[in-house]
Amino acid sequence: MRLTLKIFRYDPNTSAGPHYDRFQVEADPNDRVLDLLEAVRGDQDDTLSFRRSCAHGVCGSDAMRINGLNALACKVLVKDLNSDTIQIEPLLGLRVEKDLIVDMEPFFAHYRSILPYLINDEPLPEDGKERLQSEAERERFDDTTKCILCAACTTSCPSFWADGQTIGPAAIVNAHRFIFDSRDRGRLKRLKILAGQAGVWRCRTAFNCTEACPRDIHITRAIAEVKQEILKHS
């Protein structure tokens, strides 16, 4: 089948402002949108810039807006879109550096702000082996361990669009992963950060994040659990 790709273009080093280019491509219904972008760059216009790596939804490089919705270009198939024009644009709320590439640093800064690492200064088990954790304790935070930090959720969040200072769903998801890990001792520190002005109370439960997540994490539920935890400790 023949498709039209309508792709957002921007190069800060040329005088042309942001605009859209159209490309005709031959596509199979099972092609990934990423395959089409590769075909454009390889055979039609090699000035097109986008990030990608694993091409099967685990590395988080190629989050972008596809027909208006945040997704990974490698996890959306042509047949899922059911349209003969596909519009492809960079994520919202982050500065466009070139074409489909945005500046990820503000996103990662929010991630770093929630202390995304195990905090536990207690002595390790004397036999040098693993800390024990029950299957139920492990299950408690399983969902939020799946995050690949692709930014699809945070850049779909109206509160984040309104104010880039909002910490955003991805950072809260990663905080959740540690707050509910029975081995972690940094819970109160993180809850204090998340109770702050840019934290969880900015969430208006729009559910955009949950819909955008390519890993099917129940993000809104994770945020609600963090909110409850803050209330419990306040």
Binding site: P12, K98, R112, Y117, L132, R138, I148
Partner: protein
């Protein structure tokens, strides 16, 4: 931004090996990680099934058994001192990962969960042993995330989206690297006392591959251009179960949990090829079996694929036939829910890319190019070796998939890639920091950016007669047809000749993008040049090796030949495009090579 940087230790690559190296070098040496991707995008994150270590959490196991399995899996080409070291260290390394916070799946008594994996056995019974420590089917993701989290905690310095394009050597010693900053297109020079390459694999030279786009062999290609050799390049692993046509990996853990391979007749064909451990034989054995079944006309619909069946009724039927039990001795009977809880990501891939629910329908699979056993020759300490005598390049280290210690020999066992990068990443980091502590800062060569600049300028200055994308397609198809699971003299000769031609044609490409910011076309073209160099070396080394061993299977020389070929290859590539081969002996300590059956 300043474009000259100075550190004690530079780590090139932000995957598992690179992050381990950085975490262990940084406490004692000023360290920076230079990575062409954001580190969390690295391909370590795609590893699924687990990391092997003889913890013995669910049944008896010993690191010596892990070592023997690895030696046998390597078809006796692995260096046994290195394998012993790795398998012994693996145990503490896995505990270290847990202490770092890695959320392993757990046993009912709260310990790290373990499951069976291909080629891992109880050496006394010969039966599969539960050795693979796992976090659902996203163990690599958890390792990458956990190590990156530790890097944040320890405030490691990162140069994200900087692509290293050259190694600086002064009087045969590492002096730094040159990198392109993707955002600006500027060249940066990094000076250092020690440099660790951890750039990953090169599976993108094959048409069907499980590898990320970024797996273009940058490290080995850069070193080749600087006159250093690569080792055992003819050995590249084809994983038996890639998603049909796409090559996306379906972990061996699916078979570990009881999945069965079936041909068009509905036969469990692995019974013929590995009567003892059947579907859990080594990857090379299973990939060859699939190829042979295809050649016998037993592929599904004549389309060169087989079925991987993990429906509970199938799993339970064969588990009963095999007499498989749970650790408590009860019969192994699973539900769809239990299977899905063990392989959630695989189920997601199947639904997304195939429209198949794996507990209701079998999964169409075919072998997919997966892992480089060969690469930059190193010592057990991670030092890069300059020749067949074992001469060390001072200050230069390598670890992970880009390196060849060699612990994988002719065929890597499943789970051992993660073991390799954790163990040797750590030791490369420690040893590089030690070296940096006692070494002075070497001077920079004159015009340090000249060679890198020349390479990039050439990609922009060609005649434009050829297109990079087309050359890439031809290379991948050629490699899959002629340098794949089975090889012949004639096919390999054709491959060498064609690759030499493709390399000549490559000089006629011209990158159209004249911009600086995120000029991905330029860097992708440079990466294609790396793949072409490594493909040529691979085909040439495969042509020379007239035997079948591990992943290198020759139709015309079907037997292993220890008399003549129990040795590692080292390959140099000269400026005229000629490959020069030398050989060095395999280190054999206490496992005498014998016939390999499963």
């Amino acid at each position: 931004m300043d474009t000259l940087h100075t550190y004690d230790v530079l780590v090139i690559g932000g995957g598992g090996a690179g992050l381990m190296a950085a975490l262990h070098a940084a406490p004692r040496a000023r360290t920076a990680v230079i990575s062409k991707l954001y580190p969390l995008r690295s391909h370590t994150g795609a590893a699924q099934g687990g990391i092997g270590a003889a913890l013995g959490n669910v049944e008896e196991d010993r690191w010596e058994w892990h070592a023997y399995d690895t030696v046998k899996g390597s078809d006796y080409l692995g260096d046994q001192d290195a394998i012993d070291f790795m398998c012994k260290e693996a145990v503490q390394s896995v505990y270290d990962l847990e202490h770092f916070g890695l959320p392993f799946s757990r046993t009912p008594d709260g310990r790290i969960a373990q499951r069976p994996f291909g080629g891992h056995t109880n050496n006394e019974t010969g039966k599969p042993v539960r050795r693979s420590c796992y976090a659902a089917d996203r163990t690599g993701h958890m390792i990458l995330q956990t190590l990156y989290q530790q890097c944040i905690k320890n405030e490691i310095t990162f140069y994200d989206e900087f692509q290293v394009v050259d190694l600086l050597l002064v009087d045969g010693r590492a002096a730094g690297v040159v990198a392109v900053e993707l955002a600006s297109g500027e060249l940066h020079t990094f000076r250092a006392r020690a440099v660790i390459f951890a750039t990953g694999g090169h599976g993108r030279m094959w048409e069907i591959t499980s590898n990320a786009y970024s797996f273009t062999g940058d490290g080995p290609a850069v070193l080749l251009r600087r006159g250093l050799p690569v080792e055992d390049m003819e050995f590249f692993q084809f994983h038996p179960t890639g998603i049909y046509k796409l090559g996306i990996l379906i972990t061996e853990a699916v078979r570990g949990e009881g999945g069965i391979l079936l041909n068009s007749k509905g036969e469990r064909f692995m019974e013929k090829y590995a009567p003892k451990i059947k579907d859990l034989a080594s990857r090379d054995v299973v990939s060859r079996a699939i190829y042979l079944e295809t050649r016998a006309g037993n592929d599904i619909n004549g389309q060169r694929y087989m079925l991987l069946d993990v429906r509970p009724e199938t799993v339970n039927r064969y588990a009963a036939l095999d007499g498989r039990t749970r650790p408590d001795g009860s019969p192994y009977v699973v539900s769809a829910e239990e299977i899905l809880s063990k392989i959630p990501d695989i189920a997601d891939f199947c639904r997304t890319y195939l429209g198949v629910d794996p507990v209701k329908q079998p999964i169409p699979i075919q072998p997919t190019a997966h892992y480089a056993m060969g690469g930059i020759p190193t010592s057990i300490r991670g030092e890069v070796l300059a020749d067949e005598t074992g001469r060390v390049v001072p200050g230069l280290y390598a670890a992970g998939e880009c390196a060849c210690v060699s612990v994988h020999g002719a065929n890597r066992l499943g789970t051992n890639s993660l073991v390799d990068l954790i163990v040797f990443g750590k030791h490369a980091g420690l040893n590089a920091a030690d070296f940096a502590a006692s070494a002075d800062l070497p001077p920079l060569p004159e015009n340090p950016q000249a060679f890198a600049g020349h390479q990039l300028a050439a990609l922009r200055g060609g005649s434009g007669k050829e297109r990079a994308a087309q050359i890439g397609r031809e290379m991948r198809a050629l490699m899959f047809d002629e340098v794949g699971v089975f090889r012949t003299e004639q096919g390999l000769e054709k491959a060498v000749e064609t690759l030499q031609d493709l390399r000549r044609r490559f000089t006629d490409i011209r990158v159209g993008d004249a911009g600086k910011a995120y000029n991905t076309a330029l860097l992708n073209a440079w990466e294609l040049g790396n793949l072409l160099d490594l493909a040529l070396v691979t085909a040439r080394a495969a042509l020379a090796r007239r035997e079948s061993r591990g992943a290198h299977a020759r139709d015309d020389y079907p037997a292993r030949d220890d008399q003549n070929w129990l040795k590692h290859s080292l390959a140099w590539l000269d400026e005229a495009g000629q490959v020069h081969l030398k050989y060095k002996p395999v280190t054999i300590t206490h496992y005498t090579p014998k016939e390999r059956t499963y």
